[in-house]
């Protein structure tokens, strides 16, 4: 599994000059797994390389459980990236969420999530490897921005295409390579075995790329706004950088992978979940919190690092746009 070496020397030298490139990260440039660490913070994020490639995105009409928004299938090219091996955990999220847990160097001008009105883990677990949940896409993207300011490395949410490509791990069938309806419970926490709660990440078998809990546990935010006509638009621009952008202030993102609440059919690689207003129905305030979901306890996220890193200006513009700032 090797990458085309697309990381420009310019970006690399910027990172080096900032003292932000560790040995592990240098290895990562060769397409190896690495651990993103933080100065002074005892948490790391395991990053898994996903090679460039091409795949058929969406599901065939004949696939059992298929929904109309999963096609028609489009052949999509994907640039290489790293993806976090697991969903981001509360432990990994806390240094951003709580200013006092963010050891120096503390990024300037990063706004932190507001306090939760009540505990939105609903008793399912926090410290010790449980997935960070109940957050708006805004919060997940802000976390990426914080990571970027903190490490100098551009992280973001996966696009829908990247997510599905990484999930499929080469398969064309309903579930990822090696996974079948009958063996789903070996790979995923979902309706049948979750006891209506998420579980610590990484306890089930990984997929062929070494990614854990792609299916089930918590659904995962993508960069894309949900669009029922996604595939029509994708057909015109079948490259991985394609993102359905925000067109209205209240547009909603797409989540992928199903959750601890899902049925088996909702864990299919091609299944798409549109965020809806109800995921925040018990937020009594208007405007509703841009940080938290009162009724979306089943949503979390994982991050990617594109090998082709944007310039600092491009990254800044990206976050500004995606965060609606």
């Amino acid at each position: 599994m090797t990458f085309r070496n697309t990381l420009g020397t310019l970006t690399f030298s910027i990172l080096t000059s900032l003292g932000l490139v560790s040995v592990a990260q240098a290895q990562a440039q060769e397409g190896k797994p690495y651990e993103q660490d933080f100065a002074g913070i005892p948490v790391k994020i395991s990053m898994v390389p996903i090679p460039a490639g091409e795949f058929l995105m969406g599901s065939p009409v004949a696939e059992a459980g298929r929904q109309a928004d999963e096609g028609p299938q489009v052949k999509v090219k994907v640039e290489p990236f790293w993806m976090s091996a697991t969903e981001i955990t509360h432990d990994q999220f806390f240094p951003f969420r709580f200013d006092e847990k963010d050891v120096k160097p503390k990024p300037d001008a990063i706004s932190r999530p507001t306090a939760q009105y009540i505990d939105l883990t609903w008793g399912m677990g926090k410290e010790g490897g449980f997935p960070a949940n109940s957050m708006q896409p805004y919060t997940a993207i802000m976390y990426c921005k914080w990571l970027w300011k903190k490490t100098g490395i551009f992280y973001r949410l996966p696009t829908e295409a990247e997510w599905e490509y990484a999930c499929r791990a080469g398969s064309k069938t309903a579930y990822p390579t090696g996974v079948q309806a009958a063996t789903l419970a070996q790979f995923a926490w979902y309706g049948s075995n979750s006891k209506d709660a998420y579980h610590k990440v990484g306890q089930k078998k990984p997929n062929a790329y070494g990614l854990y809990d792609m299916l089930g546990n918590v659904s995962e935010w993508t960069m894309d706004m949900y669009d029922a006509k996604y595939f029509e638009k994708l057909a015109a621009r079948p490259e991985s950088g394609f993102i359905i952008e925000r067109t209205a202030p209240r547009a909603y993102h797409t989540a992928r992978g199903g959750s601890f609440k899902s049925k088996a059919a909702e864990l299919r690689s091609a299944d798409r979940l549109a965020q809806v207003e109800d995921w925040n129905q018990r937020d009594p305030q208007v405007p509703r919190s841009k940080w938290w979901l009162t009724d979306g306890d089943f949503v979390g996220f994982r991050i990617v690092r594109p090998v082709k890193q944007p310039s600092p200006e491009e990254a800044e513009a990206f976050f500004k746009k995606m965060l609606g700032q």
């Binding site: 006092e100 009105y117 008793g123 209506d196 209240r250 129905q281 018990r282 305030q285 208007v286 405007p287």
Partner: protein
């Protein structure tokens, strides 16, 4: 609009006259169907207090099945009034019902804004900081309006007394009053209450509101002391009543509700451990109170605003045969055997339900909701807890309620002389258990 239909507002007015005994002849019964039409009927609402919660309540009121129109908004601050109206408009535009906003020039600002907004409505939403609630509620009742008011309904015993007196008037006038203690409108809590006999007699309870805390608005140049305190109302007791009153009231109220009574005394401990700076006014960051009921039942109540500590917002009600676990929506016996489990898939949005039910009743001309008395007494319970933790003394319900203790400033104006002022370091005086005294 079909003018043959009597307008809702006229009906409400007539209904309150009737209730007051001023009309000798009853109006046409609703069974005739005359008042049941929701086609031409319009229920006018006024919003008093346009912050996030007030705007949320207005949107919920406007999202009911009835033909509800927002006709007036009021706030002490112009920016809050405009901001709230903008947020409501955005929310309704998104749901395709922006035509429900008919405020026009009825946008009122200042301490007396409520007196101008209330007359224009059939139903009034009261959502300012709780310190103002008693005078707003009193006025809305005086004018014969149906009312949705947020919890808590006061911050001091004098305010509680005022609300209790107005609640009696509201009952006489058959005005529907819903208080935003929304667990009363939540399916799981209603199901647990229905099955409470499973635990035998209630003998004790544990209730919690432990989490991170809330927002801070730093002092800005040119603010008068009144403006600063109102922008930071959470940290001043005349406005908020401390977090035991503003948030933890929910959990305390659940126990009162299930128990069917209110405590007779309280003792407790509390203080400021981590939230001490000049940005935090006078409130404590933790309270633990033991409430005692007339039959000896004990309620342990715990609330805390401390980041990084054990967080829980929940209620457990203990009986002779088992316990009710509210957060899990289940009832178990003492061996852990489940006796009842509410199906969480049938949970509702209680914030919406409280408005759905209120407006359905108003539209039908029904008198169904009299939440004010409970709202006032659960507020009093929380205030009693605060008096106990602030003083470190045993606090008797009757003594405290009858004390007439008021924390309100002598006048409501931007230049008002405030009862509480910062010292030269910007710090406010804070209660000291064992030193602070009430009623002696």
């Amino acid at each position: 609009m079909n003018k043959d239909f009597q307008s809702r507002r006229d009906f409400v007015k007539a209904g309150s006259l009737l209730a007051g005994g001023l009309l000798a002849v009853p109006l046409t019964s609703k069974a005739d169907g005359f008042f049941n039409s929701s086609v031409a009927d319009e229920i006018k609402i006024a919003l008093v207090g346009c912050g996030g919660r007030g705007s949320g309540a207005a949107v919920q009121a406007l999202s009911t099945k009835q033909n509800v129109k927002l006709v007036a908004v009021a706030d002490a601050f112009a920016d809050r009034m405009e901001g709230g109206l903008k947020n409501i408009t955005e929310a309704l535009t998104a749901s395709g019902s922006a035509d429900k906003i008919a405020v026009g020039d009825n946008k009122f600002v200042g301490f007396d804004a409520y007196t101008k907004a209330i007359p224009l409505a059939d139903v009034v939403i009261l959502a300012t900081p709780p310190g103002f609630r008693p005078i707003h509620f009193e006025e809305a009742v005086r004018q014969g309006k149906h009312i949705f008011m947020e919890k808590p309904v006061a911050t001091d015993p004098a305010g509680v007394q005022k609300v209790l007196a107005a609640a009696v008037e509201a009952k006489k006038k058959k005005l529907n009053v819903v208080v935003g203690l929304q667990r009363h409108y939540q399916n799981s809590y209603r199901a647990l209450l229905k099955n409470k006999a499973m635990i035998g007699d209630i003998v004790s309870g544990n209730v919690y509101w432990n989490n991170d805390g809330v927002w801070v608005n730093p002092r800005k140049d040119g603010q008068t002391e009144m403006e600063y305190q109102m922008r930071n109302w959470y940290y001043f007791n005349w406005l908020c009543g401390d977090h035991i009153n503003e948030q933890h009231i929910h959990n305390i109220d659940v126990f009162n509700w299930f128990k069917g009574s209110y405590p007779v005394r309280a003792k407790g401990t509390g203080g400021r451990e981590v939230r001490k700076g000049k940005d935090y006014g006078e409130i404590f960051d933790h309270h633990h109170v033991e409430f005692e009921y007339a039959d000896g039942t004990i309620l342990n109540s715990e609330c805390r605003h401390m980041k990084g500590t054990w967080a829980k917002v929940d209620e457990t009600i203990l009986g002779t045969k088992g316990k009710i676990l509210c957060g899990d929506a289940k009832i178990v016996d003492y061996k852990g055997k489940p006796l009842f489990q509410f199906n969480k898939k049938t949970e509702n949005n209680p914030y919406q339900a409280e408005h759905d039910e209120l407006f359905a009743a108003v539209a039908k001309g029904e008198y169904k909701f009299a939440d004010a008395e409970n709202g006032a007494k659960s507020t009093m319970t929380a205030i009693l807890g605060r008096l106990a933790t602030y003083s470190g003394q045993v606090m008797e319900w009757d003594t405290a309620l009858m004390s007439g203790l008021s924390l309100q400033p002598a006048e409501y104006s931007w230049d008002a002389k405030m009862p509480l002022n910062p010292d030269s370091n910007g710090l406010y005086p804070v209660a000291v258990p064992g030193v602070t005294r009430f009623f002696v």
